[in-house]
Symmetry: C2
Subunit: 339 residues, 2 copies
DNA sequence: TTGTAGGCGTTATCAG
DNA sequence: CTGATAACGCCTACAA
């Protein structure tokens, strides 16, 4: 069934049906209604491929997610969900591309095959092949995260440097003199994952500024890793009395580790961090943390992308979120040394 | 840049380029190589829309996920990830469609607009509009889960009835006489969500069979709900000494609730359930549970769908998983009544 | 207000 | 072994 079928049944020409469909030309109320009736009757919808071919646009966005295999973190999932939702709100569909390392079949198919009007990129590294690839292709794209060199690039990101720095200052204000940073996994850091590096930068800087001792450790993205991490920390650096976590998935493990070590939060040990709200609220006691606005970020990324799609010459824009740190109850004065 | 450009540069006709690309007709090695060179040089890939229009297929699968807004559960996320991965393995892209109850613009777009060659449906209800819609459309589809009437339908599911029943038997064998079922949310049950109903069916049946007292409660898909659920359970039914959970996201809360109530697991209280492996292993102590093979199920769903796409006349197939219950350490003999 | 015709980039059927 | 050419279904000048 195609537009011709509708035209025949409605007794009009194909173009009239098309115009009735798109509204790109006035159609008399009478014929419009006749056409609509036939369409409803047959449940017709224009073929997306034909339309895309003719119009040169697909009304589809590509969403590049971290390569399959690794489980997505909650935060990443949050982005996926809100991107899809925001796109749907603009009547755009979302094509998923799991693309990890370098040249991925799916990525190439989507980009070079012109399957989408624009791309949203997740889990950006400081140097990222996909970004350069996309830059070359001329396909509009928005990064959730950013590369080292952001020239001419559209992106949405969280200011991990500032956020971690603030956490350190907060803890230092409370009298803590030995503070640890629980970062993301060693592999991610080694791969040049931006937030990991920026968190570390903010940490080092703040720690130096306050003249306190800073210790940074990598930690896998799950509870067991978090627990192991705390155990090691206690064993090797018992002087540490507070930690800042940018690894939300490790939080339950961190909590368990502290518990098992017999440390009360925040009486004996303070914890602060950056995490999606529900992680922070699930922590016991509720975590003093910068709540990552995944929802907003995903929606903004789509917004920027659609803007770029409709105005390819637009000047690059970006959004750097620095959500406030919500003071909950996981941080307190440093315990008196047990002299 | 199109196929004509390549043809010109390679000094051949457009059809030859096409044949070199698809392999649908022998092309002399010499010209094939010449064409390939030009293609590599220019980084050409055939336009997906044109190809879809001509071939009548899109090499894309639709994945219908629960409506945005609600956070996806870990299990659902697992399906998404493995479906995408499996599809990518077969050089298929995946188009996401968030379609909850009714307002399915995106769903309609994808189905009627012929944007995909087939659809995978998640979170199936016993009566499901999307299933009937898809049945009518003639578009191949596979459900992860199943409706009440599965006639002529392709699906992959977990046998919640059997699994929950086994858990109950296991607990009854251990001497528990008062067992609770922690089900999914009341809304989901009310909406006719299959697993919820089938879990309940298996529970009621097994409980009756063993002559033990059964109590079923609904519980939201998150930790706080799990904790609240346990609290209520303790307050209103202190005689209960064991529970079966089919709500993995509530598990951390269940654990916390039991802890706060001062109950040791499994000394004072036993817990069994159905959950993805990592949830079970994160439980303290590790949870005796049927490990839901999300990975396998997603991959199988894609397999079935591709089979159906390539052989539309194939006889409907389905897969009912009944993973074994892994005995870990969260279940033990019923405590002696405190007489 | 409506109809006619051409073309978007491919593939596949004819010829050669 | 290779070229011309006609569709695929839609949109949109151009004509009426």
């Amino acid at each position: 069934m195609d537009i011709g079928e509708i035209a025949r049944r409605a007794g009009v020409s194909r173009s009239t049906v098309s115009y009735a469909l798109t509204g790109n030309r006035p159609v008399s109320e009478a014929t419009r209604r006749r056409i609509q009736t036939v369409i409803d009757e047959l449940g017709f919808r224009p073929n997306a491929a034909a339309r895309a071919l003719k119009e040169g646009r697909t009304r589809t966005l590509g969403l590049v997610i971290p390569a399959a295999g690794r489980r997505l973190t909650d935060m990443q999932l949050g982005f996926v969900a809100t991107v899809v939702e925001a796109a749907a709100g603009a009547d755009f569909d979302v094509l998923l591309s799991p693309s990890g390392g370098d040249h991925d079949r799916s990525f190439e198919r989507i980009v070079t095959g012109r399957r989408v009007d624009g791309v949203i990129l997740m889990e950006i590294r400081l140097e990222d092949d996909r970004v350069s690839r996309l830059r070359r292709s001329g396909l509009p794209f928005v990064a959730i995260g950013r590369t080292r060199d952001t020239a001419g690039m559209w992106w949405v990101d969280i200011d991990y440097t500032a956020l971690v720095s603030r956490c350190v200052h907060h803890l230092a204000d409370l009298g803590h003199r030995h503070i640890a940073l629980v970062n993301r996994s060693a592999e991610l850091i080694a791969a040049g994952y931006g937030p990991g590096h920026r968190a570390l930068a903010g940490f080092s800087e703040a720690v130096a500024e306050r003249g306190v001792a800073g210790l940074d450790v990598c930690c896998g993205d799950d509870a067991p890793a978090g627990e192991a991490c705390v155990e090691r920390l206690r064993a090797e650096h018992p002087e540490v009395t507070a930690l800042v976590s940018v690894n939300e998935a490790a939080l339950p493990g961190i909590q368990r580790g502290l518990e098992r070590a017999g440390l009360g939060i925040p009486r004996d040990f303070s914890v602060a961090g950056v995490a999606a709200r529900h992680w922070a609220e699930d922590f016991r006691p509720p975590l003093t943390a910068a709540d990552v606005p995944t929802h907003d970020m995903g929606a903004r990324a789509v917004e920027l992308l659609l803007e770029q799609v409709s105005t390819p010459t637009a000047y690059p824009r970006h959004l750097l979120h620095t959500p406030p740190i919500s003071l909950r109850s996981s941080t307190g004065p440093a315990p008196r040394p047990a002299t």
